[in-house]
């Protein structure tokens, strides 16, 4: 059977079960709304512009935050990758920082910046920076030594060796880093916005919770999931496959 048909059938079955539970009336409507109600709420949200505004705000936070975390993460990663001293001193702490869930940074951000968009962006930056730094660091550690040896026999050293060989050789890991940084930033963004004063998708979610609007809660969860999957599939997964192929790391 065609993969697309399989996936479509799966969703239809899932919606059917949902509709079944709704029709059976086991739970009150405000706890289990029907799929149709959720669909209508979503359409209204988009037509009325509320959801679009929230989406736009979220993407703004994400774009600023992710860009900053890529820049800062790359700088940190290059320092740790190139300097053994720096790596021995601070490398371990980077792994420790990376393991902190991003929601933990929210209170810190709010105390620092108040209930502002800056606080949200701060959480996004922290969410993406460490994973980016770790990937750039291993990118530099994993430059194939035969590339460096070959370049040295061709009179290439120092700064030239860095930007003509080590940087391009690192690109596949760099792309992987960006992909992971996006995934982590996206999660951090939702955590940050959820506890903010808006605007943003995460804030809309907490707003819906306050007014016990289960239809909105489910609808926004669906949007968040769809965006996450679509961006990963359309942008990052494709980019990574292309780069890996070109760098000969993937057999076609």
């Amino acid at each position: 059977m065609n993969i697309a048909i399989k996936r479509l059938l799966f969703i239809i079955v899932l919606l059917g079960i949902w509709q079944g539970i709704y029709v059976a009336g086991l739970y009150p409507n405000y706890i289990v709304p029907s799929p149709v109600t959720v669909g209508t709420t979503l359409v209204e949200g988009f037509v009325g512009g509320d959801l679009l505004r929230a989406l736009a705000a979220s993407f703004k936070h994400l774009l600023i935050g992710l860009s900053l975390s890529i820049v800062i993460g790359t700088l940190l990663g290059v320092i740790l990758g190139k300097s053994k001293q720096a790596d021995e001193t601070a490398g371990m702490y980077l792994i420790a920082l990376q393991s902190i869930p991003s929601i933990v940074w929210v209170p810190l951000a709010i105390l620092l910046f108040g209930f502002t968009e800056t606080a949200v962006i701060f959480v996004v930056v922290v969410g993406g920076t460490f994973v980016m730094a770790l990937n750039v660091r291993s990118a530099i550690h994993n430059v194939p030594p035969q590339f460096v040896r070959a370049a040295r026999t061709m009179d290439t050293k120092g700064l030239q060796l860095f930007y003509r060989v080590e940087v391009p050789a690192s690109v596949p890991y760099f792309i992987q880093g960006v992909r992971l940084a996006w995934a982590f930033s996206w999660r951090a963004l939702m955590a940050g916005e959820f506890l903010s004063n808006g605007p943003g998708l995460g804030y809309s979610l907490s707003f819906a919770q306050d007014y016990a609007r289960m239809d909105q809660v489910i609808g926004i969860i669906i949007i968040i999931g769809v965006i996450g999957a679509v961006v990963d599939m359309l942008v990052f997964s494709k980019l990574e496959t292309n780069v890996m192929k070109r760098w000969g790391l993937l057999k076609t």
């Binding site: 040295r152 026999t153 061709m154 009179d155 290439t156 690109v171 760098w247």
Partner: protein, 262 residues
């Protein structure tokens, strides 16, 4: 003398076992335009010696000089072809061959030079391909073109055809012979294949192991092109094999005894 290896030794220092001598007191003089093979069992240090000539490995004792200047680091007077693929995958074939020329010539000139050498290895048609689209043999030909493009005085080759299949290897042997005759380069060629060494070289330097040292130095004056069933070639192969058998057995014995003592 053109290339002079003078009383050279290599030792590695290890915090646990102290220092380990790969070889010492190696003397070797190579004339210009000569094709010299260094042949030996694994562990004899032949690749290390080549890397020292390239300037990639430090020299523990003695000196290596090329036209009277002492070798301390890599330089454009020595081009190297490695066994493992060392082309840059982010560049296409032409850009790879242009890589060593970026600093010294204009882009147009570099392009022309690259194309000359790509023609020499019969890969002009593939100049816009990326390396992952080429076979192993084609990649090594690009690597040879890249090393020649910077016009080195010596071409160093570290088991360049070791990872290729038999047929491809034979084709590349013939190509290398043509290139050598055309460019008049001095070639220092490391291999563990007796046949390869005898087929290609003016001179075969045989190294033994534990400790690494030169055990024989053959001049091969069989006229080229050399056929495998030529009586002189077969006799030479036998002579070298006889010399090496003892060395290879020594390595095997040692490896086996390691396994038991561990």
């Amino acid at each position: 003398m053109f290339l002079e290896v003078n009383d050279v030794g290599k030792s590695f220092h290890d915090n646990q076992s102290g220092s380990f001598h790969v070889f010492s007191n190696i003397d070797l003089s190579i004339e210009q335009n000569q094709f010299v093979s260094i042949l030996g069992p694994s562990g004899c240090g032949k690749s290390t010696l080549l890397s020292m000539v390239a300037g990639l490995e430090s020299i523990s004792e003695g000196t290596i000089t090329l036209e009277d200047s002492t070798i301390k680091q890599p330089g454009p007077d020595r081009g190297m072809v490695f066994q493992e693929p060392s082309l840059f995958p982010w560049l296409n074939v032409e850009e790879n061959v242009m890589f060593p020329l970026k600093n010294s010539t204009s882009k147009q000139e570099a392009k022309e030079r690259a194309n000359t050498f790509l023609q020499m290895v019969h890969l002009s048609r593939f100049k816009h391909h990326y390396t992952h689209e080429l076979s192993g043999g084609m990649q090594q030909r690009v690597a040879i073109a890249r090393a020649l493009a910077m016009d080195p005085k010596v071409l160093l080759m570290d088991e360049p055809f070791g990872a290729l299949d038999e047929q491809t290897r034979h084709i590349l042997h013939d190509e290398l012979m043509k290139i050598w005759q055309e460019t008049q380069k001095t070639i220092l060629f490391v291999t563990h294949s007796i046949q390869e060494a005898i087929k290609l070289s003016d001179r075969v330097v045989v190294m033994g192991t534990r400790p690494g040292r030169i055990i024989a130095d053959f001049n091969i004056d069989v006229p080229r092109p050399r056929e495998r069933d030529d009586a002189d070639v077969i006799q030479l192969e036998k002579d070298v094999m006889g010399l090496l058998e003892g060395e290879i057995n020594k390595v095997l014995k040692e490896e086996l005894s390691y396994e038991h003592s561990d």
